[in-house]
């Protein structure tokens, strides 16, 4: 399972620090008046929706929000238990089945709205590892439907003490108030009348349920998304979520809205193939997007002004030293990625003009080399092709050289990869060292 949710670490830690620093109370960020549209009398355990249309719409909202990514583990559907490691202890995702004792069965619809949209759960303020900051944008209608869907989930008895593994003082939920005050934009989605419906729908999904910025925006030192670099790429530690703006070099500048839609629905746009946490997001969430919604997301992303990222200086690869690397590429990679870096459409990523890989942050490429990767398994693309790991057969320098070659061949230009970066990730991922030979 991807550790990207380690971002929760930063957030959880910072939450406390910020709270102590702020030392104040944040009325606006804690204002729950938006939940008043929901019923506050019937508990989930006592309610079972019979409105089939609402239930189906609610299931779709669940897919948009990718709730199961964090709430479904081996304990049963939505029974929680996903552990998010932080330097200050372990946070565990909640059991959100309608079980009254151990799940959210004793929540009313209003409690549920408060938890999902406001970050206020049964036991107090939620750690922002639960992406309520994005879910705040969910419309009332979507929330009502989601509630209807949750009522059909089979109750599972599975007791979870979410923050028992967090050390003092990080286990004090009230501390989250400070973080919320600083970083929680407690306002719903606002339609931009100057844009068309598709654009607005796309923004609604990207900023709301899809919580795309949770990964694709860089975070500041306090673990909050940086609005000034919105969707310009975020480092998740062992993965990098690329620039989604129209930057022609490292972003989506050369992709069409339809390419983006294809990527979300199938895991590939014909050039790139989703890996790591994005493969998971595609598998569990975006492949279920309707055609119209996927295209709306593409339309919205294409409207984002290009980030300022510039291509790296040209790195010549026709030097004698690079000839050896070219041989290593032919011998180890070309069978799948192609002699011309063309890949295998929809299955193995191309390198030629694969802009998501040309950012100055080469984490994904290094990660794939050290641990391998598995493409998303989707309805349209069933192969889920695998990228083998090369940690056992190449040292840091060999991997760095190969990636520098790939990033600067076939018309690509990108910064060279440093052997020290490979070494750092190798250690972090606990990948094995190159085998010693006679």
């Amino acid at each position: 399972m991807a550790n990207w949710k380690k971002i929760g670490a930063g957030i959880a830690v910072i939450a406390v620090v910020a709270a102590i620093g702020a030392g104040g109370w944040a009325w606006h960020s804690l204002n729950t008046v938006a939940s008043n549209v929901a019923d506050d009398t019937t508990r989930l355990a006592d309610f079972k929706s019979t409105d089939q249309a609402a239930i189906e719409r609610g299931e779709y909202v669940m897919r948009l929000g990718d709730c199961s990514a964090c709430h479904t583990r081996e304990n049963g559907k939505f029974a929680g238990g996903y552990e998010i490691g932080t330097p200050f202890g372990t946070l565990v995702s909640s059991n959100i089945t309608p079980d009254a004792g151990t799940g959210i069965g004793s929540m009313t619809e209003r409690d549920f709205f408060n938890a999902v949209r406001q970050g206020i759960g049964q036991h107090g303020m939620l750690y922002p590892a639960m992406p309520f900051t994005a879910y705040r944008k969910f419309s009332d209608q979507d929330m009502h439907d989601l509630w209807a869907y949750m009522s059909t989930v089979t109750p599972v008895k599975h007791d979870i003490d979410e923050n028992a593994g967090m050390k003092f003082p990080y286990n004090i939920r009230l501390a989250m108030a400070g973080w919320d005050m600083l970083f929680f934009d407690n306002s719903g989605f606002r339609v931009d009348g100057s844009k068309d419906d598709a654009w607005n729908r796309g923004k609604y999904i990207v900023d709301g349920g899809g919580h795309c910025a949770a990964c694709h925006s860089p975070r500041n030192m306090l673990g909050a998304e940086m609005g000034s670099a919105y969707l310009q790429g975020g480092n998740l530690g062992e993965w990098f979520a690329p620039d989604l703006t129209s930057n022609p070099h490292a972003g989506l500048g050369t992709a069409s809205a339809q390419d983006i839609a294809n990527y979300l629905q199938t895991g590939s746009d014909g050039v790139a193939v989703a890996a790591g946490p994005m493969a998971e997001a595609v598998e569990h969430s975006t492949q279920y997007f309707s055609k119209a919604d996927a295209l709306a997301v593409g339309t919205y992303l294409k409207s984002l002004p290009a980030s300022a990222t510039q291509p790296g200086p040209v790195q010549p690869v026709d030097t004698p030293a690079m000839q050896k690397v070219a041989l290593a590429y032919e011998v180890n990679c070309s069978a799948c990625h192609g002699l011309g870096g063309e890949g295998i459409e929809g299955m193995v990523p191309a390198f030629k003009a694969n802009h998501g890989l040309l950012s100055s942050d080469a984490t994904n490429m290094i990660h794939a080399m050290l641990q391998g990767a598995r493409a998303a398994h989707t309805h349209d693309r069933q192969t889920a092709a695998g990228m083998p790991a090369f940690d056992w057969k190449m040292d840091d320098r060999q991997i760095a050289d190969l990636l520098t070659f790939v990033r600067n061949s076939w018309g690509n230009t990108a910064t060279p990869v440093a052997a020290s970066d490979v070494g750092r990730l190798r250690e972090f991922l606990k990948a094995s060292k190159k085998m010693a030979t006679p």
Partner: protein, 243 residues
């Protein structure tokens, strides 16, 4: 089940196979998520540094080098077997699973009378490591008895004579060592050491592969399929390249 019991019961199993539940097979669902290699799928490189583990006696190494370098002598096509690391290769193999005969059936035959006929090839109850221990002793004893000198001190011509005699089954070695079979074991291992991937200790600098024009551990030959009748001059590649 012992191998020969298995062989004998084979006919019976075939006729009664309808009774064998197919559900005994493990059923796999989906696909493995991880693509990193697990330890048991990785090659086991030979490592220098600790010195020889099986051939700890210098005289044993000398005998073996004398034999190996007649089987593959140094010439204009490449280095000799010992120069290419075949002793180190064999020592490493004999120190591990191969030497222990892990993949071999080493119990006595059920029916000794005609076991060679049944199996179609000679059978051994000794591990390869034990066969080398006995075989090298026997070679040394043979040389002392017939020529009065240590085996490694024999002239190349004389060694060729003895090896030919062993190969043709005309020479019997002392202590019940079957000369022909020991010769074949050494020949097989010398070839393996000369042509296995360098990561196993032999085929130093890929000399064996360069000699025969084998391009090594390459993944894909599609770029070359069309280029028939041409010397492609492909540089050989080890599975774990040094640089």
């Amino acid at each position: 089940m012992k191998r020969r019991d298995l062989l004998r019961s084979f006919g019976a199993a075939m006729t009664t196979s309808a009774l064998v539940s197919p559900a005994a097979a493990a059923e796999l669902k989906g696909f493995p998520e991880q693509t990193a290699m697990s330890a048991d799928h990785l090659p086991r490189p030979a490592m220098k540094g600790g010195g020889f583990q099986v051939f700890t006696q210098e005289n044993d190494r000398k005998i073996l080098a004398a034999v190996f370098d007649r089987l593959i002598p140094s010439d204009k096509f490449g280095p000799s077997a010992s120069e290419a690391g075949c002793l180190e290769f064999l020592d490493d193999q004999l120190a591990g699973r191969y030497g222990e005969g892990r993949a071999l059936y080493l119990e006595g035959p059920v029916r000794p009378e005609n076991e060679e006929a049944i199996m179609g090839s000679p059978q051994f109850t000794q591990t390869p490591r034990q066969r080398y221990e006995d075989g090298l002793k026997a070679l040394e004893a043979y040389a002392k008895a017939t020529d009065g000198v240590a085996f490694h001190a024999l002239s190349p011509g004389r060694i060729d004579e003895i090896l030919s005699g062993l190969e043709e089954g005309k020479i019997e070695l002392p202590n019940g060592v079957k000369g022909k079979w020991f010769f074949e074991l050494m020949l097989q291992n010398a070839r393996e050491g000369y042509l296995a991937d360098p990561l196993y200790g032999g085929n130093r600098d890929m000399a064996g592969w360069k000699m025969i024009g084998f391009p090594g551990a390459r993944y894909d030959y599609r770029p070359y399929i069309e280029r028939q009748g041409e010397n492609l001059k492909l540089e050989p590649v080890s599975l774990i390249p040094k640089d």
